[in-house]
C-alpha cells in the first residue's frame, strides 16, 4: 500500500502544483493508464475503434490478474478530434489523475501535442497509430506500435510500381495534416528514385468537401494513378468526385483510409481503390482469429479494424513492459518499453528500434463488391 502511494505521488510531487492534493487522496490500488482519444468529431471512427481495442486489452489483462498484483484502470478522455485539446487533456491526466503512462492518439497531429507534456513529466507514452516520424522524435519517453510513414511511404511506392505498374502518379495532399504531408514526401522520394514520375501535386485542407477544382487540374496531366495520403472522409469524397469528372484511374492511399465510412460514403466510387494498413482480419493466424472473436463478442459483432488491433497492441505492449520492469516508475517502464523485442502482437512481430519506432510489415487492402479484401503483404 505504502509503496503504491509513493510510486504514485513521487513523480507528481516533482512536476505538478497539485501535489498537495495527492496526499489527501486515498492511494489507489490500481495501475492508472491514461488514454486520450478522438471519441467524437471528424476522426471519431478511428478514435472509437482504437479505444475499443484498448478497452478489450485492459479487460483481458485484468482477467489474467493485471500486473504487479494490481488491476489496470483505464482513464479515457475525449479530445473531440480538435487541435489544441490533447495537450490540456494530457496535462489533466498526468497531474490530476496521476496516470503512470499515456496511450494515444490515432492522429499524428494530436500525438505531437501531448508528447512534450508526457516527456517533461517522464511519463511513457505509447501511440497506437500515429505514423508521422516526428511523434517519437519528441523525446525518449514517446513510443509507438505502428509502422511509421517513411516505411509506409516506401512500401506504397513499391506497391505502386510493382502491383499497379504506375509510372506517372498525381499527388493530392492535405496540407493541414502532418500525416498527409509526411506520407506524400516519403512516397515521393523512393518512387522517383526508382524511376517513377510525379506529374502534378495538388493540395487541400482538412474539412474541405469540394475537390473538383484540384481533380479538374489533375485530369489533363493524364496520370496512371492518383495517390491520396489523407483520411477516409476526404478520400471517399475525392474518389466520388474523381469518378464524377470521368477519372477512372486507380486511386490509392495509406492507413488513413481504413474505416467502414470509406465504403459508406464512397459507395461505388471507391471500388478498385487500394490502401496500405497494419493488419487484416482475414489473416489466418490463431492470435488474430482469437482477437477478432473476442472483439466481436464484446462489441455486438463488430469486426475489429486496424485501429482496433493497434489500440489493443498499444495497451498490451505497455503492460508487457510494466511486467518486465516490475514497477510503474516512469524511467524504468521507459527502459523496458525500449527493450521490447519480437513481441508477438495482433499486428505482427513488434520490435522497438533505437528511435522508439516499431519495425514490421504492411498489408495492402482493396475494395471489392462493397467489402474490404486482402491483397498482399509487403515486407520492408
Amino acid at each position: 500500500m505504502i509503496k503504491a502511494l509513493r510510486t504514485l505521488w513521487l513523480p507528481a510531487l516533482a512536476f505538478t502544483a497539485f501535489a498537495a492534493a495527492a496526499i489527501a487522496q486515498t492511494p489507489a490500488a490500481t495501475i492508472k493508464v491514461g488514454e486520450f482519444a478522438s471519441l467524437t468529431g471528424k476522426e471519431a471512427a478511428f478514435g472509437q475503434s482504437s479505444h475499443k481495442g484498448t478497452l478489450l486489452a485492459i479487460e483481458e489483462l485484468n482477467a489474467r490478474g493485471g500486473a504487479l498484483g494490481q488491476q489496470f484502470e483505464l482513464i479515457t478522455e475525449d479530445n473531440q478530434s480538435k487541435q489544441g485539446e490533447s495537450a490540456t487533456i494530457a496535462k489533466k491526466l498526468i497531474s490530476r489523475d496521476k496516470v503512470i503512462a499515456l496511450l494515444g492518439e490515432v492522429a499524428s497531429g494530436r500525438s505531437l501535442e501531448a508528447a512534450p507534456i508526457a516527456q517533461n513529466a517522464k511519463i511513457p507514452m505509447v501511440s497506437p497509430s500515429s505514423t508521422n516520424p516526428k511523434v517519437t522524435e519528441m523525446g525518449s519517453y514517446i513510443f509507438r506500435v505502428c509502422f511509421i510513414d517513411p516505411l509506409q511511404g516506401r512500401l506504397l511506392a513499391k506497391f505502386a510500381q510493382n502491383t499497379l505498374k504506375a509510372k506517372r502518379v498525381a499527388l493530392l495532399t492535405s496540407v493541414s495534416s502532418p500525416y498527409s504531408v509526411g506520407l506524400a514526401k516519403f512516397f515521393k522520394e523512393p518512387f522517383i528514385a526508382q524511376g517513377g514520375e510525379i506529374v502534378i501535386e495538388q493540395r487541400f485542407s482538412e474539412n474541405d468537401k469540394d475537390f473538383k477544382a484540384q481533380l479538374t487540374a489533375i485530369k489533363p496531366t493524364k496520370p496512371d494513378a492518383i495517390f491520396v495520403p489523407g483520411y477516409y472522409t476526404e478520400a471517399a469524397l475525392i474518389c466520388k468526385q474523381a469518378r464524377d469528372l470521368g477519372l477512372e484511374i486507380p486511386i490509392f492511399g495509406g492507413d488513413g483510409w481504413e474505416a467502414p465510412q470509406l465504403i459508406e460514403i464512397g459507395g461505388k466510387a471507391v471500388e478498385g481503390t487500394y490502401y496500405t494498413t497494419h493488419y487484416s482480419p482475414e489473416s489466418t493466424s490463431p492470435a488474430v482469429q482469437k482477437f477478432v472473436a473476442d472483439f466481436r463478442a464484446k462489441f455486438a459483432g463488430e469486426t475489429p479494424d486496424a485501429m482496433a488491433a493497434l489500440g489493443y497492441d498499444s495497451a498490451m505492449v505497455l503492460a508487457d513492459a510494466i511486467k518486465r520492469a516490475n514497477t510503474t516508475e516512469g524511467p524504468k517502464v521507459r527502459d523496458a518499453l525500449a527493450a521490447t523485442k519480437n513481441y508477438s502482437g495482433i499486428t505482427g512481430m513488434i520490435t522497438i528500434d533505437a528511435k522508439r519506432n516499431a519495425t514490421k510489415s504492411a498489408v495492402v487492402v482493396t475494395v471489392k463488391d462493397g467489402q474490404f479484401k486482402f491483397v498482399e503483404t509487403i515486407a520492408p
Binding site: A45, K209, D210, A213, T216, T233, A236, I265
Partner: protein
C-alpha cells in the same frame, strides 16, 4: 480552355449554394439588423432532414428528390420560426449585442445537440436525384451540378417575386425601412419577422440539401465553414441586399474554385477573405449595398 470552363462550372455550382445560404443572412439582417449565426446550423439540420427523408422515398427519382427538398424546406422554416419565437423575440428592442450573443448560443446549441441526436461521425447522404454525367465540349457536366444551379435560380426568382410582388413582401420591406412606421401603418411586425425567418431558413435547408448532394458526407458541424463563407458572401454583396447576396455567393464560389485548382490552393481561404477586405476598403457597404449616413 476546357479546364477553365470546367472550373467555372464547378465554381458556379459551389457559389450557387453559398448564395442560397447568404440570402438567409441578408434577409434577417435587412429586417432585424442583426446577424443570425444559427443560420448555418439550420443549413445543417436541413441536410439531416434530407438524410432521414431520403430513406423514405425511392432514390434517384426526380419527384423523390423534390419531395425531400420540400419537406426539408418546410421543416427548417418551422425550425427557423421556432428559434425566432423562443430565443430572439423576447430580446427585441434590447441592444444588438445581446441578440448576437444569443444567436451564437443557439448556433452552439444546434451543433452540439446535433452531435447527441445524429452522432458525431460523418454520414453518407443518399443520391436522391437521378445522377447522370454528360460530356459537353470536353467538360463533364454532372446532373447534380445542374440541379444545384437550376434549383438556386428558381428559388431566387421566387424570392424576388415574394419580396417585390406580394403583400407580405411589401410588409417585409416596410419593416426593414422603418419598423415603427410600419406598425403605425398596420403592419404586424411579429408576423413579418416570423415569415422572414421561415423564408430564410427554408432557403438554408435547400442549400443544405444541394450541398449534401454534391459533397455527400454530412455531420453536425458541417454548417460552420459554408456558413462562414456565405456570411462573407452576404457582406461582399452588401448585407441587407438580396441580389447582392446572390452575386457575392457566386463570386466567392468561383474565386475559391479557381484558387483551389491552381498552385496556391493552400491559400484558398486566405485569398477569399483578402478579396473581402479589399472590396470593403473600396466599397464599405459591399458591392451592391448603399452607403447610408446615420442621422442623429
Amino acid at each position: 480552355m476546357s479546364e477553365f470552363l470546367q472550373q467555372l462550372l464547378n465554381g458556379l455550382s459551389l457559389g450557387a449554394i453559398y448564395a442560397l445560404i447568404a440570402l438567409g443572412y441578408t434577409m434577417v439582417y435587412g429586417v432585424l439588423r442583426f446577424i443570425n449565426f444559427a443560420h448555418s446550423d439550420v443549413f445543417m439540420v436541413g441536410s439531416f432532414i434530407g438524410y432521414y427523408m431520403g430513406r423514405l422515398v425511392p432514390h434517384e427519382t426526380l419527384w423523390g428528390g423534390l419531395v425531400v427538398l420540400a419537406v426539408a424546406m418546410i421543416g427548417c422554416a418551422i425550425l427557423g420560426m421556432t428559434i425566432e419565437r423562443l430565443a430572439y423575440r423576447r430580446l427585441r428592442g434590447s441592444p444588438t449585442l445581446n441578440v448576437l450573443i444569443t444567436a451564437i448560443g443557439v448556433s452552439l446549441l444546434l451543433e452540439y445537440s446535433g452531435q447527441i441526436f445524429f452522432g458525431a461521425a460523418p454520414r453518407n447522404f443518399p443520391s436522391i436525384f437521378p445522377v447522370r454525367n454528360f460530356e459537353v465540349a470536353g467538360i463533364i457536366v454532372g446532373s447534380n451540378q445542374l440541379i444545384v444551379i437550376a434549383v438556386s435560380v428558381v428559388l431566387m426568382i421566387v424570392l424576388q417575386f415574394i419580396v417585390y410582388r406580394t403583400k407580405i413582401g411589401t410588409a417585409m420591406r416596410a419593416v426593414s425601412l422603418n419598423p415603427k412606421a410600419a406598425t403605425l401603418m398596420g403592419v404586424n411586425n411579429d408576423v413579418v419577422i416570423s415569415f422572414t425567418f421561415g423564408l430564410g431558413s427554408a432557403l438554408a435547408a435547400a442549400g443544405g440539401i444541394l450541398y449534401a448532394l454534391n459533397y455527400p458526407s454530412i455531420d453536425p458541424l458541417m454548417g460552420v465553414m459554408p456558413g462562414l463563407k456565405a456570411f462573407v458572401a452576404a457582406i461582399l454583396g452588401g448585407i441587407g441586399n438580396i441580389p447582392g447576396a446572390a452575386l457575392g455567393g457566386l463570386i466567392l464560389g468561383t474565386v475559391e474554385t479557381f484558387v483551389n485548382g491552381s498552385q496556391w490552393s493552400t491559400y484558398k481561404d486566405a485569398i477569399a477573405f483578402a478579396i473581402l477586405i479589399i472590396i470593403l476598403l473600396f466599397r464599405p457597404a459591399g458591392l451592391l449595398g448603399r452607403f447610408t449616413v446615420e442621422k442623429v
